[in-house]
Symmetry: C2
Subunit: 365 residues, 2 copies
């Protein structure tokens, strides 16, 4: 059977392992997040790195997203082919081949890219001039995550001036991703640390504006801080992505979005109490944030994974499960789990409504 031939069937009839979207829950998440941004000045620019799927990105933009966010050029290529025109690359684009691809893409869509290095700015400027393009640029500021990003304050000002002085580049503003904050479980601590990060970012914005440069964009935030960084004065857009599905890891933050993604798995071998074996292993569902949670069961606990098998125990010693039965697992980390799959089964009220291709799966260059 092809994936499409499952349309109309019940979830339990889908061949496994399979990613399953609860459409009602996902659409509720889209509408809740879009609704929040209708009430504040900042815009929502959904990050597609979680779902990697143009069909879902389209729903987000139609609900009120201001363009989309991507991490990788391969993702941008997929999204431009799908008709998206306003794209932020929230990442540094480095190296001869990539900069060439970036210029080709910038000729087709309204792209903005992040920078944190003087040499990279020079490379982008040279390439933009050669291509006859004016490329929009955000200076990426390290607001405490200690990954990419130039230090806030004077170092950021120096890069901003360099961008502004570079032919072929248009200095648009700043990006600062508080990635060290977004999944802190305590709302109080998340709020405190999120505001600390935004303070660094907005102080840098003020410093740059005092130097005479205009700032049009201050891009920040994730799903765990949309309502912390979003309303922070001076922030213009939020790059939330994970809210679309709310994996088990993100649920620990308590933000009010529903769990919309599961992995359907089949019991392929069974010896109670601790050898309930599924077809959902490391090549199907990731575990860097912990093993998946069995949906709708308090007694079943995932205790191990091999490449193509998951191992579950029943805490009661008993189970009515038998070989061939199907269960749903909630991934601990949706973004990396989705990157293992080529399609979603989009389900409404228990039946397959559509199959969505994950066109940007594996687009890591």
């Amino acid at each position: 059977m092809t994936a499409e031939s499952f349309i109309g069937l019940s979830v339990q009839e889908i061949d496994t392992p399979a990613l399953v979207i609860d459409l009602d829950v996902m659409e509720g998440n889209i509408s809740r997040m879009a609704g929040y941004f209708k009430g504040i000045d900042a815009n929502l620019r959904p990050h597609i790195k979680t779902h990697k799927c143009p069909i879902i990105a389209r729903k987000q933009v139609e609900a009120g997203g201001r363009g989309i966010t991507c991490s990788k050029l391969g993702e941008v290529e997929v999204m431009i082919q799908a008709g998206f025109t306003d794209i932020l690359i929230a990442n540094e684009i480095v190296g001869r081949q990539k900069i060439k691809r970036l210029m080709d893409l910038a000729a087709q869509a309204d792209l903005t890219v992040a920078v944190d290095d003087a040499g990279n700015i020079e490379d982008l400027s040279t390439a933009a001039q050669a291509a006859g393009i004016q490329l929009k640029v955000l200076v990426d500021v390290n607001v405490g995550m200690n990954r990419c990003g130039v230090d806030p304050g004077e170092p950021a000002l120096a890069l901003a001036k360099k961008v502004a002085a570079s032919s072929g580049l248009t200095f648009m503003g700043l990006m600062g991703y508080e990635g060290h904050v977004v999944s802190i479980a305590s709302a109080d601590e998340r709020t405190r640390k999120g505001r600390e990060s935004m303070k660094l970012l907005i102080e840098t914005k003020d410093l740059i504006e005092r130097s005479g440069l205009a700032i049009h964009v201050v891009s920040s935030g994730g799903s765990g801080t949309y309502n912390i960084s979003g309303p922070y004065p001076g922030v213009t857009e939020i790059q939330a992505g994970s809210y679309i599905f709310m994996d088990a890891h993100y649920q620990e933050t308590g933000i009010e979005f529903g769990s919309a993604l599961t992995l359907l798995a089949t019991i392929v071998s069974l010896h109670l109490p601790d050898r309930i074996i599924t077809d959902a292993g490391m090549k199907t569902i990731t575990a860097e944030f912990g093993f998946p949670v069995v949906k709708g069961s308090k007694d079943l606990e995932v205790i191990g994974q091999n490449e193509e098998h998951g191992k579950i125990r029943t805490t009661t010693g008993k189970s009515s499960l038998k070989v061939g039965d199907k269960i749903e697992l909630i991934p601990s980390h949706g973004c990396t789990t989705i990157n293992l799959h080529d399609k979603y089964y989009a389900v409404r009220k228990g039946n397959v409504e559509a199959v969505y291709p994950i066109l940007a799966r594996g687009k890591s260059t």
Copy 2:
């Protein structure tokens, strides 16, 4: 640039992140393993779950492999399309759709499948009869891994009798995978525990033969036990897979195969000493067995990974690396890392000789 346009270029010119095979080392591994099996009775049946690539499977079979081993029907489909005809599915195939696919495939190639459940045997028998096929079956015995597999001794005998009595099925013998042994670092302990597992398997073989059933196949083993289980009297074939590339995890066993696979990554942001940021994150290289190792460097240590970024520190506080430089990472777990990629760059003496598509990537159903 397309992948093919990198042919002839040096490794350093490949766009990143990219999987790179050192062909001389990989071919040395193939030839060393094939050579070992020329000296013993048991055959090598290479497991393709590591490389997922027909081009590499072909090299293994041409060097002396007796057919191939797969885990998933999706892998079998790819390998049959590539012309392979002798395939062991070292896994249970459960569920209506999968059994239908299995029968379609069994009509095209010489397939053998594992079973460990009476109900599954009945389902296979019914489907084989309906399809007019005689399907080869191995009874999967739990030799201590405690994953799939029926208990050794009488329970295995009962399933063997059931298979032998089932129309449409041909009882061929036993499978027992000592997966809990293959990556034990100590050779002595690996040998002791490997022999314990093989003793269980061969005692079960003897029991079944005494009952009057013939056993033609006893399939076992992995890369860490090829020279323990391979020469064990009664074992007929070994399903080694990981030896092809020897990831960092398997290197701890000290078995004499070379490290043939790296991930080429680019430095995209750099703030010494502990923010050397690469484009190799969780979506490109897996970390369930630990972070990757930086090839050829004692001073650089991977200390973190996000979805699209890796973080490295220099233990000396100094480094001559700059943004745009490329480094090679040795994956801790090749099998799952490869499953994130669509192609290998096959390199000989520093230059790209070919691009190999990873056709069975993501074939998890």
